[in-house]
Symmetry: D2
Subunit: 358 residues, 4 copies
Amino acid sequence: MAGNSFGTLFRFTTWGESHGPAIGVVVDGVPPRLSLTEPDIQQWLDKRKPGQSRYTTQRQEEDLVRILSGVFDGVTTGTPIQLMIENSDQRPRDYRNIADRFRPGHADYTYWKKYGVRDYRGGGRASARETASRVAAGAIARKILGPGVRIRGALVQIGPHPIDRSAWDWRAIEDNPFWCPDAAMALRWADYLDTVRKAGSSAGAVIEIVASGVPPGLGEPVYDKLDGDLARALMTINAVKGVEIGSGFSAAVLKGEDNADEMRMDGDKVVFLSNNAGGILGGISTGQDIVARFAVKPTSSILNPLRTVDVDGNEVEIATHGRHDPCVGIRAVPVGEAMVACVLADHLLRHRALTGGI
Amino acid sequence: MAGNSFGTLFRFTTWGESHGPAIGVVVDGVPPRLSLTEPDIQQWLDKRKPGQSRYTTQRQEEDLVRILSGVFDGVTTGTPIQLMIENSDQRPRDYRNIADRFRPGHADYTYWKKYGVRDYRGGGRASARETASRVAAGAIARKILGPGVRIRGALVQIGPHPIDRSAWDWRAIEDNPFWCPDAAMALRWADYLDTVRKAGSSAGAVIEIVASGVPPGLGEPVYDKLDGDLARALMTINAVKGVEIGSGFSAAVLKGEDNADEMRMDGDKVVFLSNNAGGILGGISTGQDIVARFAVKPTSSILNPLRTVDVDGNEVEIATHGRHDPCVGIRAVPVGEAMVACVLADHLLRHRALTGGI
Amino acid sequence: MAGNSFGTLFRFTTWGESHGPAIGVVVDGVPPRLSLTEPDIQQWLDKRKPGQSRYTTQRQEEDLVRILSGVFDGVTTGTPIQLMIENSDQRPRDYRNIADRFRPGHADYTYWKKYGVRDYRGGGRASARETASRVAAGAIARKILGPGVRIRGALVQIGPHPIDRSAWDWRAIEDNPFWCPDAAMALRWADYLDTVRKAGSSAGAVIEIVASGVPPGLGEPVYDKLDGDLARALMTINAVKGVEIGSGFSAAVLKGEDNADEMRMDGDKVVFLSNNAGGILGGISTGQDIVARFAVKPTSSILNPLRTVDVDGNEVEIATHGRHDPCVGIRAVPVGEAMVACVLADHLLRHRALTGGI
Amino acid sequence: MAGNSFGTLFRFTTWGESHGPAIGVVVDGVPPRLSLTEPDIQQWLDKRKPGQSRYTTQRQEEDLVRILSGVFDGVTTGTPIQLMIENSDQRPRDYRNIADRFRPGHADYTYWKKYGVRDYRGGGRASARETASRVAAGAIARKILGPGVRIRGALVQIGPHPIDRSAWDWRAIEDNPFWCPDAAMALRWADYLDTVRKAGSSAGAVIEIVASGVPPGLGEPVYDKLDGDLARALMTINAVKGVEIGSGFSAAVLKGEDNADEMRMDGDKVVFLSNNAGGILGGISTGQDIVARFAVKPTSSILNPLRTVDVDGNEVEIATHGRHDPCVGIRAVPVGEAMVACVLADHLLRHRALTGGI
């Protein structure tokens, strides 16, 4: 209830600050007898790791994860799994000069107003570094979901440049540094981001997560609807300002007969003729692909000076010289995947509790 | 944890089906010694009540609320407050002919897949009738927030027709049946919805909720961020497919320096020069207006026949002849306000617990 | 989190005051497709109902339960079940003369200190009348547990008179008004309580609950241990001052080799040679009978005058002339059974979530 | 919800196995700006540390705690506090010979039945080593409670030897290795335990915890009563079989007029003439001392051979040669204190949330 936990049955709690000795996550509610090793988790952390291209922060974090509990002889025991990642590339000095100033668009001001104290080093707890713990938890969630459920993310817009959805090719996302399913657009984004970066600015993005193979029936109406939990899960990722499911905001433009996904039989199987619902009706999964999108604002830490105030009420300017992502949306892709996995794993267990099924 | 509760300290649980004997909500965690009477709650229910214009369902529900517990001599006692609304205009027969068919865009299919049984009368638990309980809970939440916090909602788009934001006038929303702050657009919507209704179709909408006077510091990072909880709160309202905070999805298009809200001093008070953040940074309220928008899909219950299947796997058609809203977004305005009030009241209590202050 | 809810997956919230219009409970997390009717619940309420012998309060409550939601065509639908019991025999006038005085041993003083306001009519929310809602919830819990799990309670001590455990006969509990498994002791208790009642006094009691047929594996270490949850469940019943599991406090006197329940095989089945553990090891059920006992203090509402103070700080005396139980422990038996059923049902669902099995 | 967390607003989650690399606890919901250093926590861990006398296990654990997050410049920041204790004296080989056998009175059998796998090294997660994390969390809880609340524990019975309560002297508990407030009885216990230990056996105990200076009003009726939460808190400590508040089980023997604590005025202050209630009425603190007792069974790990079975269903014998406490009740004293502190700190925050007071 205290803010740093997520999930009900599959439940994790993250801890740690950007420039403290370590960050980590304790994952509780993991079924026993699942095989789990550090490489199972590391593979996903490596996707989020900074410094992999010139489009992400140059901070050099190895992000090596250690399993400290909950696993014995290579399998989960049903007890809490503590995962720890030591912070190797801390440069708190980078932040001393901005310790007294509130960076616009950052949580500096609100933490100070709420707590009366803040760890200013790299954003402390508000840093996107916390998302590494989410990715680690997500790796365990995928184990619970099993190989039948596939969760993939893609960047579908950077700044004013959306992809051409008709050109969508999942194979393309491994071939560019943007998780972009439209190879042509990836090239254009590269140019665009180079320009943005050189201009000392930053760009926003939209990410789409697709979960395939999700059984129908997941979700607990009415307040723990699957889409409600997904919305919360994605909105809590740093810098996210909007979430939509299926046709999302564009559903408002449609007429009833165009939006409702009609149903037919394919042999003895129910099929939907479209997926405006994004795989969720009444808060419960339909069995179709679950489709969620979220918007990430442009990085607030930019070289261009901005007007702000300091803790003493002086009007000052600030320019952020730390190592930052010109587009935080890029590294948000594996984080979004992880959060979707965590929501689904939790609801899988909840559904099993209620109905005995699956 | 079982799906029908919302909130942590200010916590309510709703119950009841569309065509059962009654619906209601038990609200727990209400501070003692707040004045509370049935009219305090009824006034908000009356705003949501069906049948108030030709643009909402003609179902005639008085929606009279009774306080069954938790109030003594006109003040709250700190014990749970049970609010009950009897269902007066039940016509379950209206639904018998569709009992075996899954209405596209409705929760019929998913409830059947999840539970193996469903109360088909008017959508049962999945009916938007449940939102009356949310409005009732919201009335108590407003009491907790006090008169300094003002929460208002407006419809900002119906179908393809958004309002002209430069024409925004809060006074206008009382003068048209749409909660529309743009008087000219309200006239246009009236024409548009008449056309839609006569065509046996329905329209979607976008609602904006603005909360003023919210103190800075509310919200519990990182998983109980204020925006995360608002996203969940609004996404769980029937038919909602998207939620955004502040500049929302349009933030993705902005550059860093354009999106970050700069700060200056106004005397000894910090002021922001814009509000792209929608009043929330790092999951914590800034003291600015909190601005949230949500998209409502077009009503799925329409006269126009749609292709579907029945419980026996037959391909059939369905047309819904019940009494439905051509645009459910209209009555979603007071519901959205109520959910925002509930989130804020909960976080006010949580913040008081953590810091002692407000 | 707000105090009036119990359980995690099988979760109920009670509401209502002793002399308000009604009391009730909303039960969430009930699996679908369980048969459930009002008589299924009423049968248990009838066991707790006051006025059944001269040893319990003469208040005449019919305690008729109504199902307001969550059941359709005689089966649960998986949605919240609201159960309501109207208060028929309210005599708030009985309490007006003690409205300003704190009854020693009652919650009057603490409610006043906590809330600054209290519903003084019959104890308001602190009344044992609330336990009717527990019994109603317990009836649903038993449905979840199924016929293989049998939960029975017995009174094993009244005042200074414990039963002779070697004379234990479950059949006897239906033949006396005390749920006493020792027929000879029941006669002695009758005499004793007559004396106590005539003397304007009251007596305490010890209740034992035995659950048979509980599968091994229920309980979630380390903070949601089965015995921890049972302790909380029973301690929250009105007037309870102690809880023990298995050999309980007498375990402190035993030596290790006498306390540890040794194990042998009976065919291919593991058997224990004793049950000092009360069916729980490490917080998890062993498959043996679960045995819990709890102590109930003597009724604080007595005719004999007691020294107390009033809300204005005057020293006064008080004698309670309402209709009260000379030994509240008697009616606590079905309440204790219900709470044990609720804990077990919750853990059954939790175990199913974690492991898939039962 | 997943079993390894405790508390609602002040909430901690423990992790780690007896013979894994480390154990620890993440504490969430800690108010900001409390001074907190490692020695603040270490002082309480040192009281629980094994190997301090010949009456406790000879396992040599330094139990050095490290703060990994949530503290900056010596004060809490309001973010989660991760405390880690590395396991230094692991001898998993000690346990290999019993890996296939279920130790009677231990959780071996139930973990195996529940999870189908278990970490047999020293009891794994079921080891009393987990209680070090409770003590660490308790140290933070005491910071929240402040110096006005004093929580002290004492051993009041070992085996069949209770203390003489009239000889109670708090100063004595520092002068003997038993936390015994009766100096004469401490000498007798020393002899008794020497005999027990030499006989390869073990002894049970009863611990009493007293919390002074607790303000009235803490506790949330009806399911989160202060005594209910204390009962759960203490019952979840390893080997505990019974909990009582105030006069506890002996209340069952009293008459109403003897049990009810009468009230008088002392100047303008309400005073109670006795404390059978143990400082709690209706689940809410009265302002008197809170008094809780719990019974600890004799250590199940003893040298004397016991009959048991192994995982293959063979009947075998087992004698435990590891390093164990002849009376685990001794080291349970600081653990009980810590759990009481955690319950009180949580309810202090909850009360502040509800009423704004304190």
